[in-house]
């Protein structure tokens, strides 16, 4: 640490304990540092304080009123009391008022047991609500988005979603409207989120303290498929899921649960358990090939990654002029979906229309992506991926099935689509796709073997990171961007011009998929680092750490696809963006209908 630039410290007393902390810190931060827990509701470490809820009030000697500790700055010699009768009574009133206007619906609420309002009521010992707010206007839940559901009746107006969406994601789909008792968090003109400019990233659902924004629950259709003896139900699991699912079952953040997930999915009755990391390796083959082509033929550069559907949606809605830069590769989820209903169906001799393909994702935008009309490339009359469950929904299914997840023995992914390299593993963290691509692009272009496969410069959590790598004499400039707000600033070129780069990775969620909108909800600022380290450790332990060395990916090319970028690879693994995407898909299907055959049959699938 650079101590010379460290901020001056101040000393204060909280509940009789002396605390030293940097100037500019808040009373709440000082208290937490001293191990004193002040209850909060609107404050979220990743979102920042807003002072909206007043749950965190404390007494400061000399201040005329109780102050909100999450926004109140420390000062030298300050004396703070967090647990006086006046503070306790005022806090209780605040929480009772929140509860009085809140639906009494806990038993059937998605957040039952994981709700911050419940926890507050429990911790403050609320047994009776002295107020009655019966004239709160009822609003119907907003189910217009394929990814998330908003239930305004449960909203406690903490503002976290508004701040995340506007300031961190740079989207601004949600705002406060009206005022006083009518105050409401809503998209413009009270449209549904499905009609608003919303990227489906789900970051709002990851920070909502209550059940007012939740992922769209698709567990029902998956249970139905599992119960249907006619269906061959296949599942794929994204890398980031194994870095976080344990948290849902009380395991400490940073516990890898890869083997337990495979085991649990087998126990739930899936006929085949595959690994999206296989498709990540496949993505690197296609995207690496595309990059080399664009580099050699002076195509549109920088090439920008396409794995993150929240980013794609953002680009389509806010920066359509940039769509040419995005790789035509489908995301790993959709590549896997297409491969399952073509290659896998073929080698197993299963009718693709009997396959029900499920994916477990850290991401709410993947739900939306799977429903895009162009994501239907097999001969089956269904989408390539039939249902997408978030990490949180998988946890719900595991609990419903009575599986003791934390104590499960390890299971295995199935062959052939369960085999993956360490490069596929790190796809789940910001910088991982770039690093995986560099490992393969470097070796393919230089025909040399990398001594150390790690590219430290693209790791870490700075909003924008860049590196220059000498590949066969070309100085390849790469950048890694995470969080849509950072992406917007990067594209606007205010600090740095995107044109300077050859290859750019962009992920919608801050931290990458490990902190996706569908991941277990956490208030711990350390989870990002802990989840990332799970993936980096798994990469280290993998015998194969480069995508182009994945034997099953090679077999897929040798026996089915031909070469990366082949005609069949294009048909199955590539896509288009913008308003044209759907049109192209429609034309493709119309063409097939006119000629009495499905799009795939021409390719012999």
């Amino acid at each position: 640490m650079d101590t010379a630039r460290a901020k001056p410290k101040v000393k204060l007393t909280i509940d009789g304990r002396e605390v030293e902390i940097e100037q500019g810190a808040t009373v709440l931060e000082a208290a937490r540092k001293a191990g004193i827990d002040i209850p909060t509701l609107c404050y979220h470490p990743a979102v920042g304080p807003s002072g909206a809820c007043r749950v965190c009030i404390v007494e400061v000697e000399g201040a005329r009123t109780l102050v909100a500790s999450c926004v109140y700055p420390v000062a030298e010699g300050m004396v703070v009391r967090t647990n006086t009768a006046a503070v306790r009574a005022a806090r209780k009133t605040v929480v009772e008022l929140l509860i009085a206007g809140h639906p009494q619906d806990c038993l059937s609420c998605e957040r039952n047991g994981k709700c911050e309002l419940q926890a507050l009521a429990r911790n403050l010992g609320i047994r009776k609500v002295r107020y009655n707010i019966s004239d709160k206007e009822h609003r119907e839940p907003d189910t217009s988005s394929p990814s998330i559901v908003r239930n305004p009746d449960k909203c406690v107006l903490c503002g976290r979603c508004v701040t995340v969406c506007r300031d961190i994601q740079g989207v601004g789909a949600l705002s406060f409207a009206y005022r006083g008792r009518r105050t409401l968090v809503t998209p413009s003109f009270e449209h549904g989120l499905g009609e608003a400019k919303c990227t489906s990233c789900g970051q709002c659902s990851a920070v909502c303290p209550v059940g007012a924004i939740v992922e769209k629950d698709d567990t029902g259709v998956v249970w139905d498929a599992l119960d249907d003896p006619e269906k061959h139900v296949v599942v794929q699991v994204a890398p980031a899921v194994r870095a976080a699912l344990g948290e849902e079952f009380g395991m400490p953040a940073g516990t890898p649960v890869t083997g337990k997930i495979a085991q649990a999915l087998h126990m739930l009755g899936f006929d085949a358990v595959f690994d999206t990391q296989f498709a990540a390796d496949l993505t690197i083959m296609e995207e690496g090939h595309e990059f080399i082509e664009r580099l050699n033929r002076r195509g549109v550069l920088p090439l920008v990654t396409s794995c993150s559907p929240g980013w794609i949606r953002y680009c389509e809605q806010f920066h359509p002029e940039f769509l040419d830069h995005i790789s035509t590769c489908k995301s790993p989820q959709q590549m896997m979906g297409a491969v399952i209903k073509s290659y896998y169906a073929k080698i197993k001799g299963i009718d693709p229309s009997k396959i029900f393909s499920v994916s477990i994702m850290p991401c709410t935008a993947k739900k939306y992506e799977a429903k895009r009309p162009e994501m239907r490339t097999s001969s089956a009359p269904s989408q390539d991926v039939d249902a997408v469950l978030t990490t949180r929904e998988l946890a719900r299914m595991i609990r419903a099935a009575g599986i003791d997840f934390a104590n499960l023995e390890d299971g295995e992914f199935d062959s052939p689509l369960g085999i993956s390299s360490g490069a596929g593993t790190i796809f789940g963290v910001t910088g991982g796709v770039m690093e995986a691509a560099l490992r393969s692009v470097y070796e393919i272009l230089t025909k040399k073997t990398l001594g150390d496969v790690r590219f430290e410069a693209v790791r870490g959590f700075d909003g924008v990171r860049h590196a220059t790598i000498d590949i066969a004499g070309t100085q390849v400039r790469v950048a890694v961007v995470h969080g849509l707000g950072n992406a917007g600033r990067f594209l606007a070129g205010t600090e740095d011009s995107p044109d300077r780069y050859h290859f750019v990775e962009i992920m919608a969620c801050p931290g990458g998929c490990i902190c996706g909108g569908g991941q277990p909800i956490s208030l711990d600022p350390a989870v990002r680092q802990l989840r990332a380290s799970v993936l980096y450790r798994e990469d280290e332990r993998k015998p194969i750490r480069k995508s182009h060395e994945n034997v099953e990916v090679r077999r897929l090319y040798d026996t089915f696809l031909g070469q990366p970028g082949s005609e069949l690879a294009h048909r199955l693994l590539h896509t288009a963006y913008g308003p044209d995407a759907a049109r192209l898909a429609r034309e493709d299907r119309a063409h097939s209908a006119a000629f009495g055959r499905q799009p795939m049959s021409a390719a012999g699938v």
Partner: protein, 176 residues
């Protein structure tokens, strides 16, 4: 005080303000762009822009708000938040005559609800709606303090007491 409706319709403006109807021919949009340009980049630009836009269009319809949002480079939801926060902004056009029917207890028990129904039928608009010709806006209001005259209806500043539903067409004639 008028009670605003629970939901704001998303349908096109049905008034003469034409902010939805005449997109292509409406010369007020270039004027709006000029207003936006005048304030763009200044701190607190949104409120004066909305204010002038309302003077120009009569109301802040969705089209107008979207134009303001993209012009100022902020999100439509933020504009909506501000336009619903301040009571001097109106999202829907107001008619020349505001009809307010009291639904206080005294009026209610003396048949104010039937008066509202008769007005809805006669004007062919819902509560909080405005007639196509831009003449009337129908609202229900809390007690006007004229309970002795119940049921009470205001048209503009005129108080009409002991109103019976069948009198409605006759009363409205004066304002047509």
């Amino acid at each position: 005080m008028a009670v605003m409706s629970a939901t704001i319709g998303t349908a096109a403006c049905k008034c003469s303000c034409g902010s939805n109807a005449g997109k292509l021919v409406d010369d007020r949009f270039p004027k709006l762009d000029a207003i936006i340009a005048k304030y763009k980049g200044k701190p607190g630009a949104l409120i004066p822009v909305l204010h002038e836009a309302q003077q120009l269009f009569g109301c802040l319809s969705e089209d107008v708000q979207d134009r303001v949002a993209s012009g100022l480079g902020i999100s439509p939801s933020e504009v909506y938040g501000v336009s619903t926060f301040y009571s001097f902004f109106t999202l829907r056009p107001r008619g020349k005559w505001k009809i307010g029917v009291c639904l206080g207890t005294a009026c209610y028990v003396r048949g104010a609800a039937e008066v509202v129904e008769a007005l809805k039928k006669e004007l062919d608009i819902p509560v909080n709606g405005t007639t196509k010709d831009g003449r009337f806006t129908l609202e229900v209001v809390r007690c006007l303090g004229a309970c002795g005259l119940a049921p009470v209806m205001m048209i503009g500043d005129d108080v009409h007491g002991r109103v019976r539903p069948e009198q409605i067409p006759e009363i409205l004639k004066e304002y047509r």
